[in-house]
Symmetry: C2
Subunit: 337 residues, 2 copies
């Protein structure tokens, strides 16, 4: 199968030069007579030569491959980020190796070894599940990586995230401005820095507006719709139920909407709901969801950019970027009656 590969030797023959010259043309290109270079280039085109990446990378060069480690496929959240990553990488002629965390929960260390020595020039980690283990060994090996949306976990490494605390604050403040005082909050997975920051923002906003925090009103979720639903049911079962619910992501907010509807509550007349992320779907549900927008695609973009930068200049200090979140007012929230 495909054993008809054109190698630099073939190109060299065709161009009448040594294969070392071909390699030079392919790489830095210094020290090659223009005329020979042209001959080589022509031969490459004629033969349809493509560099064999494994050979190059075996020899110690770049593989032009980036590993993308994600928790789970098929969520809009991940999808948006991947999109940004992919487009940036494509521009720089890098390809993407996809890894899903759930595959490898067991033996992380082995996993990292495979990741780092195997193939890729660098690693992009989107919200990894138990990152402490591998981030440490990545740092030890000085293997280029960037963490996406996981601030607070990895103090020392480069990371791209969003202003989660500010987002949590803004959402809550908005609800307060609408007159709500009993505001339910559904957290994300609490092992994630972003979840904790959103909760922090929520608490800070209440405090700043002189509203006493009520522990009853905070429920732990997991970023999944059923989790949002369940938490909302609990909240609505309270003696003094909230008039507004702030879910730590849009998907859980959809669960809240479900629960509200099931209880015969009109949105936003009987209950205001606000989400986080602004996945495309948020604008499409009914009523359109008020939410905190996170520039997911942009985050992917920037992370990829940063990683490429690190690969080029490994000495450079780790950078942390926080992209701004933004309140998107839609129709799932209204002034308290």
């Amino acid at each position: 199968m495909s054993r008809t590969n054109v190698t630099i030797v073939d190109v060299a023959k065709e161009a009448g030069v040594s294969f070392a010259t071909v390699s030079r043309v392919l790489n830095d290109g210094a020290n090659v007579k223009p005329e020979k270079r042209a001959r080589v280039l022509r031969a490459i085109k004629r033969l349809g030569y493509t560099t064999n990446l494994q050979a190059r990378s075996l020899r110690g060069g770049r593989s032009h491959l980036i590993g993308l480690l994600v928790r789970d496929l098929g969520t809009a959240y991940i999808g948006e980020i991947m999109r940004g990553v992919d487009s940036e990488l494509a521009e720089n002629k890098y390809d993407v190796m996809l890894y899903t965390t759930h595959r490898h929960q067991a033996k992380e260390n082995e996993y990292v070894t495979a990741l780092t020595r195997g193939m890729t020039d660098g690693l992009l980690l989107v919200l990894p599940r138990h990152p402490e283990g591998y981030l440490k060994s990545l740092r030890q090996k000085k293997f280029p990586y960037v963490v996406i949306d996981h601030q607070g976990i990895d103090d020392r490494g480069p990371a791209v995230g969003a202003t989660n605390r500010a987002g949590g604050y803004d959402a809550t403040r908005y609800l307060l401005a609408l007159g709500h005082r009993r505001i339910g909050f559904i957290t994300g997975s609490m092992d994630l820095g972003c979840s904790r920051e959103r909760l922090d923002g929520y608490r800070a906003a209440l405090r700043d507006h002189g509203v006493a925090a009520d522990a009853e009103l905070v429920r732990e979720g997991n970023f999944q719709q059923p989790g949002g639903y369940a938490a909302a049911i609990e909240l609505m079962n309270l003696q003094d139920p909230p008039t507004a619910i702030f879910a730590s992501n849009d998907v859980m907010a959809f669960g809240v909407m479900e629960a509200a509807r099931e209880r015969g509550k009109k949105i936003p007349d009987d209950i205001s709901i606000i989400g986080f992320d602004d996945i495309p779907q948020a604008a499409q549900v009914h009523p359109p969801l008020t939410t905190i927008r996170q520039p997911l695609e942009e985050m992917g973009h920037r992370a990829a950019q940063m990683l490429l930068e690190i690969i080029e200049h490994p000495e450079q200090a780790a950078e942390k970027i926080e992209l701004p979140t933004e309140l998107v007012m839609r129709e799932s929230t209204r002034v308290l009656r």
Copy 2:
């Protein structure tokens, strides 16, 4: 960086055997004395050895890498398929290289070369955009591949799809059974076999039920929400507008819902809407969308399975699988008043 790699030579030293023996243990494992094997295994563990895939694959072996070529990231449709692919591949210790079509529209042939000789043992193509070009060269090179959800385009190659025609038929028949006679249809991208088959099914159902086809009622869409919206607006502007609309995928159906709502039409009282795919979101919109379920994750699963099979047994004849679609009745459709 990570230049501290443990190779089979290191393992061989540690175990006090030749490195060929290590290779044997790693591979078929035949002809190695149990005691030595044990020593090697122990050394591997102690040193944390991992096979260098590029070296192995350069030498002509398997890279244990599958290329996954998708049109676009971040749609629920692709996400579900990828999920199935990934879980099947993970079970068989294969990794995934992700390719997006949009990157490479220009020079497909070069692209295929890169794809096939570069790295991967096989290719999974999800709904490729202009597949004629590369499918041909894949076949020529006898490079293992499986096409997902693209029946009708590639006659000869292995493929996994769904019963699109039957799905189109069932959806239409259901609408007819509810009493609808003016049924609008919004197509997918007409360069895709699945789009044409769904349209076929729609037409066949009308014919079988003695309802004259009205060309006015068929609008071309593109599988995107705005396309569904625009087509729906056109349909509703007709002198004799449809009482039901069948969109060729759920995402366009969401666009139809948007349009209907904007026109003040209640769903399903004033207009029935049916989609295709049954992406998770379909159950979550309001009202929940009646749709034709396509087992996307299962399709990914089966395709990956089939590809692995082909890689093992290349002589085997190309197989075509069609997984059954299924009508999922929810609340966006009702009996015509």
